[in-house]
Amino acid sequence: MSTLAPDRKAELRRDRSPRKDRLLRGMRTPGGAVFLLLLALLAAVIVVNPSFGEPGSLIRFIGRTAPIAIAAIGQYFVIVSGEFDLSMGSVVTAQVIIAGNLIGQDDAKVLPVLLLMLVFGALIGLINGLVTTLLKIPSFIVTLGMMLALLGLVLYWTGGAATGNPADTFRQIGRGGIENIPVLEILPYPVLILLAIAGGAFWLMRRPYGRTLVAVGDNARAAALTGARVWWIRTRAFILSSLAATVAGIILVGYAGVHPSVGRGYEFTAITAVVLGGVVLGGGRGWVLSAAAGAFALEMLFALLNFAGVASTWRDTVQGIIIVAAVAAGARTWERRRRGASSATHDKQTPIAQPPAVGTNEGGK
């Protein structure tokens, strides 16, 4: 077998479509189309408001969308494994309140509280995951329960009103940046955090864990039969989601400040972004970076509506339409692909391997 390996590699390389073709084919999937949508929206925004296209404003826009994109990446892990995480927004809110109440103006507390927040986030994800997988309660209900429980906790703790902002050093994470950068003026820290997380997520999805996660979302039973520990794979997805919400919360404390309304509706924004990124609800299909692109497309659309003079009260309506339209479009395209119709009509077929010659023993390979 090993002697054949170089041969097969060469064969694969030969049979693989050219990079251009693969890119084009990728763009035809919902997960690829979202990048085109993003570019189209960016162009539209710049037409409506040319100053938006300046590198300085663009990088600030990316900075302020970073927490939503990070939340979308977290939500992606859960959705692609076939579950939901509705507790995300409440986790953001709870973390924001924790930061506000525990850090205060004391710089020395920044690091310990930061650690505590990460542990708390991981714990929430662990509970969500274990209850969903071991007690076999639908994640929709589990995370809905978690969302309400956390909201109640926040309400109990704050009475529903804002407390003071934490120390400025902590807020720098979400508000500050590396200054005096040519062209960009400033490189906000949230952009760096987003880049790191997006890179990490991309890497993780190419690791065995990522492959198995998608397999579990596609067909949990089949994945289990191949020996995957489905419960632990899904639980880790919930932990990743809650950790992403925690990071989003840390950025938002800096960007916006402490208020019980911070994080409200984040779960739905994240789900919309993921769906817009072409990830199939129910799991098993979709790319992680498309989810992040979905978040940017969504925010870009809101910015477009805003610049076009549409009142923000329309936003929820738009978000609702997008969820329905994107799910419908995504389902149809993936279905077509599965049936093979799309490749038959659009793509040049290249056989994966030479058909075996008559009389040879196929199984011998």
Binding site: R175, Y255, H259, V310, V318
Partner: protein, 410 residues
């Protein structure tokens, strides 16, 4: 609703574009031409227009005058001051002994209500000690009309109350419940937001939303040039005290050629920052108007983050705004929706059971804090948390200042 139909078309067009690109294979799909051609007009019109519905010229004029009227009573105790007018005779209620008070509260879900609620409880402590009140039973409706109606009905049926204090959640929905409370023949005290009945023994409130709108809008007009741009940040639609603030301000902005665009923020600082940064990337913003100070700091920070000059701004007498205002040195005004009014209902109970007459409509003073007075208020409220309100009027109560500093919400 003046919001143009074109805007709606843009929404539909944009949504349609989205649906199209999501399933199309053609990357060359164009941006919606609608968005380009209409934006010029659409952007020039304010995003929101609801002022007409809430504007009431008579109330506007009345409150405008009341701002400079002289109040009866000791200016050192503004929570007992009132405007001369019709009085309610309460001799029928005169009686000895400690009374049980039942308080149907709309909510304590914002820092203004929380501060007032703390003050009210400290005032209660005094009156319990004096033997005027035996206890106060409170039910918190958590911003829900139905809950509050149930709360009031519970008090009527089983509360064993000697007097009712009601801080209504909303105007129209609470009217029948307040009327039922009046029918018991016991004293009913309504404060803060109003109801559509005058059956209450006394209705306690500061001058009102129009006065707020006039004070703030006139300040901005005085400090800005004609044609300047003002961003108006509003918490939510449909609450009379807030709508009236904007209705008055919008009228004054229009009359003076100030270009004002209003947004609903839900007091969410993320939203506020986003709105201001988007506005700043479209063009310069010279003024910021707020219908409540919650989130004022986020608005100011958005200017800092964008590297723009500070706007002329009106916030509220919340400590976070006063502190940020002093720190930045911007041109500002802190309008006041007198927080000390939370003391008045309990003091009214004392008066009513003593048989002293009380104003039918108890209008309390409502004076903004200008820059000259800011230092005094910052000094007298030193150590108070950011969500505290400078004109809370509780310096003579027990527990001052620790209770407010630690914000012990009962």
């Amino acid at each position: 609703m003046r919001r143009s139909i074109q805007s709606k078309v843009t929404v539909v067009a944009a949504a349609a574009l989205l649906a199209l690109t999501a399933c199309t294979t053609d990357p060359s799909i164009e941006n919606p031409p609608a968005a380009e051609t209409e934006s010029g007009e659409a952007a020039a019109t304010p995003a929101e227009e609801g002022g007409d519905e809430w504007f009431d010229q008579a109330a506007f004029d009345e409150q405008s005058e009341q701002r400079s009227a002289s109040f009866t009573g000791d200016p050192e105790q503004p929570w007992l001051q009132y405007l001369e007018g019709e009085m309610t005779d309460t001799s029928e209620f005169a009686s000895e002994g400690a009374k049980k008070v039942c308080f149907a509260n709309a909510s304590i879900s914002n820092p203004w209500r929380q501060t007032g609620w703390i003050t009210m409880n400290q005032q209660l402590e005094v009156l319990v000690e004096q033997g005027v009140i035996s206890e106060m039973e409170t039910r918190d409706a958590q911003d829900d009309d139905n809950t509050q109606i149930a709360d009031i009905d519970y008090f009527i049926a089983e509360g064993d109350c000697d007097a009712f204090i009601i801080s209504p959640n909303s105007t129209a929905a609470m009217t029948p419940a307040v009327e039922r409370a009046c029918e018991t023949g016991k004293p009913v005290i309504v404060f803060d937001r109003g109801v559509e009945t005058d059956c209450a023994t006394t209705f306690i409130h500061p001058i009102g939303g129009f006065a707020w709108g006039i004070d703030t809008a006139e300040f901005l007009v005085d400090n800005l040039e004609e044609g300047d741009k003002v961003v108006a940040l509003r918490i939510l639609p449909g609450v009379d005290v807030l709508e009236q603030r904007w209705a008055a301000a919008e009228k004054i902005f229009e009359e003076n050629g100030i270009e004002a665009t209003d947004y609903f923020t839900g007091a969410d600082p993320t939203e506020i920052k986003k709105i201001i940064s988007d506005e700043l990337s479209t063009g310069d913003v010279q003024g910021v108007w707020m219908d409540a100070g919650d989130g004022a700091v986020a608005a100011i920070e958005a200017f800092e983050d964008a590297g723009k000059d500070y706007p002329v701004m009106t916030g509220e007498d919340e400590m976070s705004f006063l502190r940020k205002w002093e720190e930045t040195g911007l041109t500002g005004l802190a309008p006041v929706y007198s927080n000390f009014q939370w003391r008045t209902p309990l003091l009214a109970v004392e008066k009513i059971f003593a048989g002293e007459e009380v104003p039918k409509e108890w209008v309390l003073p409502q004076t903004p804090i200008p820059e000259e007075e800011r230092a005094d208020f910052l000094a007298s409220n030193e150590g108070m948390p950011d969500g505290h309100y400078a004109k809370f009027g509780g310096t003579d109560l027990p527990g001052y200042p620790e209770v407010w500093q630690e914000r012990q919400i009962p």
